[in-house]
């Protein structure tokens, strides 16, 4: 009986959270098109998120390209198919691995940062202070951050993909005597709009999910400093799960239309 009650309570909490998050999302769409627009804060957030994540994305992308090529090479050589390496790496990185890995990195870097920042503003009453001064903290803090992640993540993913391909080309050049020109010619021959368009659309949704969950967890943070830690942690965990769900849906839809 006790166990049944716990499961019921957990289910109730889960659906309550889904409901709250849906309301939060609806409020974002209601506020985002309503003046006054916080362009200055949006630009500041875009700069913070993009600029401060750039090094991490570049390093991750480069190592991803290197490792992926190094690990795949022996298997392809076994089948005498090493000439397929550029097209295989190109398609894999552009369609799937690049967006997912970069989005997960950004969920850790940006999502947890948003959760912790808004959470600490909530527990130190800074959000309340904005509200009593007659301004709209949701618009200033939440709308700008979600918009910034939605706009910046595709750019970071394109950057990460490009650097990953450079890393892969470097290995092919060193190990397989493939020139950079030949490598990239093969990559661009293999990649089509059917690879690029769904991946780009998907990356906007990834960015939206990172901003949304980070803001939701931080904005409704409670329980003092412990709550800030929980908000930051939950932002990363929930976002990671959400990213895989979005990725699954995106792959499913892509499979139907492309």
């Amino acid at each position: 009986m006790g166990k049944t009650k716990t499961i019921l309570d957990n289910s109730k909490d889960f659906f309550a959270e889904v409901g709250d998050m849906s309301y939060f999302t609806a409020r974002f769409f209601r506020e985002v098109f309503k003046p006054p627009f916080e362009f200055k804060e949006l630009m500041r957030q875009c700069f913070n998120m993009g600029n401060r994540s750039l090094l991490l994305v570049v390093v991750t992308g480069f190592i991803l390209g290197l490792v992926f090529t190094l690990q795949s090479r022996p298997t392809l050589m076994e089948f005498g198919a090493e000439s397929w390496m550029p097209s295989m790496v190109g398609i894999s990185i552009v369609r799937e691995i690049g967006p997912v890995i970069i989005a997960l990195i950004c969920a850790g870097r940006i999502g947890s940062g948003i959760g912790a920042e808004l959470g600490s503003m909530r527990v130190t009453e800074q959000i309340d202070a904005m509200e009593v001064s007659g301004t709209n903290p949701f618009k200033y803090l939440v709308v700008t951050r979600i918009a910034a992640t939605t706009l910046m993540l595709p750019l970071l993913i394109v950057t990460g993909d490009t650097v990953a391909l450079l890393g892969s080309a470097l290995i092919e050049n060193l190990k397989g005597d493939v020139s950079y020109l030949l490598y990239f010619n093969q990559v661009f021959d293999a990649i089509t709009y059917a690879d690029i368009v769904p991946a780009t659309i998907k990356s906007f949704f990834f960015g939206f999910a990172i901003g949304l969950v980070g803001c939701y967890k931080g904005y409704y943070c409670s329980k003092g400093t412990v709550g800030v830690g929980e908000a930051s942690n939950a932002a990363v965990v929930y976002t990671s799960m959400l990213l895989f769900i979005i990725d699954f849906i995106a792959v499913f839809i892509t499979d139907i239309f492309f």
Partner: protein
Amino acid sequence: MESNNKTAPVLELKDLQKSFGENHVLNGFNLKLYKGENLVVMGKSGSGKSVMIKCLVGLIEADSGSIRIKDHDITKLGQNELDILRTEIGFLFQGSALYDSMTVRENLEFPLRRHKKMLELKGNTESLVVEALTNVGLADAIDLMPAELSGGMQRRVALARALILKPKIILYDEPTTGLDPITAKEIIQLMRTIQDTYNTSSLIITHDVDCARVISNRMILLVDGINYAEGTYQELIASQDPKVQAFFKN
């Protein structure tokens, strides 16, 4: 001062009730604040003082009762109307609540961004910021970050931010908590100066008896979510009621 005057109160709470689950915090609290008055609400920690003051500005929704500020029942106002009414109220938070990613200047400019034109405040943003900071004695701190200020300085900047829209009512939530006795005295003195300069009515929430003694024209003792006792400081301290006596002795 004007606690017994016949004018309408600038702020009135009637039968305010608020519970959090089984915890009944406010059980029919009443309050009237008159123009130019310093009204102190005292009570033990956890007695519901902060909940009451947050209900008053719409940060927490009361379960029942009415909250009237300048003839507006705030429980019936839309968000836009409430935001406009909030410009007439300054709020000093317990922990100062300065925006820690902004400089002192940006902290003070923040409330002006939306309301400066509507309120038709004289002077440009820069002069209003400098004026507010000068009135709290911190004009030199304009380009510092909140983390570079001491606790007392943070409280002063928070007070300057609360005053920037030139409100008619100021709400103080534990203005001296966490400060050393000397700084606490300076803040109390500043509160009196501010009242003279800006001609405000003040509602002060505190459990600091010294603060109440110096600043109050009238006091309400909040016990078990109701107005347990009311009067001037002298009247309350002379009370023979054991609960009132226990409060002042402790």
